[in-house]
């Protein structure tokens, strides 16, 4: 009776990080905003480091509503794209070694996106997490929460519907 030996943790981590990086690095607008992703298992936290270019109201100063909306939409799309990719990789249907600039993972397309602005976006780093509330064959519904200093005090939240990417 010999159970299959589990893969070394480093191999698993490398595979997942490589896949996430392929998903994120391919999108110019994510680099333009400077958004980064922190991965813990399958959970992603998006980080929008403060930049002067994200200001919309210089007198307060406050983040531009468009910068906040962009951050939330990026978090929703990558969150959903990652959930799809995670499933494909862990089931062995997609070999992460094949993912690269030549063969980028497909991303879901936004159908609609609604942002609630709950508080002024302060001139400091912002964080966001997406939750896929429903993911069907064609459509998905995703909720995003964003905060700055306190996880419980959201400064914005959003809900969006997405068209699932066609399988290769």
């Amino acid at each position: 009776m010999s159970a299959k030996k589990p893969e070394p943790v480093q191999v698993i981590k490398e595979r997942r990080d490589k896949a996430l990086s392929a998903l994120v690095q391919g999108v110019p607008y994510i680099s333009f905003l400077g958004i980064q992703f922190d991965r813990k298992g399958d959970e992603l936290t998006a980080i929008l480091p403060y930049a002067e270019a994200h200001i919309g109201n210089p007198t307060l100063p406050a983040l531009h509503g468009g910068a906040t909306a962009s951050f939330l939409e990026v978090t929703a799309i990558i969150g959903l794209g990652w959930a799809i990719l995670w499933e494909e990789i862990e089931s062995g249907r997609v070999d992460p070694a094949e993912i690269g600039p030549e063969r980028l993972p497909r991303l879901p397309k936004t159908i609609d996106f609604t942002v609630d602005y709950l508080r002024t976006g302060l001139p400091r780093d912002a964080y966001a997490r997406a939750r896929v509330n429903r993911s069907g064959r064609r459509y998905a519904s995703v909720h995003v929460e964003a905060w700055q200093d306190n996880r419980a005090r959201l400064f914005a939240q959003a809900t969006g519907h997405f068209l699932m990417p066609a399988r290769d």
Binding site: H64, K109, Y117
Partner: protein, 150 residues
């Protein structure tokens, strides 16, 4: 016109609008038009070169907010309460986007705005539409009587 010049400076000088190279095309009480050029840094789908929805949201939010700021019966400042965007079709890569917004109603404390964004194929279906609510502080100046707001 001086107000026009002031509004242009105000909107185009906002760091984020500037980063996206937005340009104020038209502004009058309750209506604004702002355009934004296609830029490869704004690409959201590397497979097609289509600009990211977030950049379109930023254009819509700025234009919608400008219509509220341009109301003569308000204080000239506002913040977005909520904004919903519907994406009808991908914006064509390489084309300038043009957003037209109308602030069609304002109560004492809320302004309601609709916006439409098109690319250079102006007769085609719009790229996206939006509806939003914005904070507002109605001043008595230029006030008109409104039902349900007394």
């Amino acid at each position: 016109m001086q107000i026009d010049k002031l509004a242009r400076q105000m909107i185009e000088a906002l760091p984020f609008s500037k980063a996206l190279s937005m340009r104020l095309e038209e502004i009058e009480p309750g209506r604004a038009v702002i355009s934004m050029p296609w830029d490869e840094r704004l690409i959201g789908d590397p497979r097609t070169g289509v600009i990211h929805g977030g950049a379109v949201s930023a254009l819509m939010d700025t234009t919608a907010g400008a219509t509220v700021m341009a109301r003569p019966d308000g204080p000239g400042i506002t913040a977005t309460i909520d904004l919903r965007i519907d994406y009808m079709r991908p914006a064509r890569p390489g084309q300038r986007l043009r957003c037209e917004a109308h602030c069609y109603h304002a109560t004492r404390s809320v302004a309601f705005v609709r916006a439409v964004t098109r690319d250079e194929e102006e007769r085609d279906v719009p790229v996206a539409t939006a509806t939003g609510a914005f904070t507002f502080n109605k001043t008595d100046k230029g006030n008109t009587a409104e039902a349900g707001n007394k």
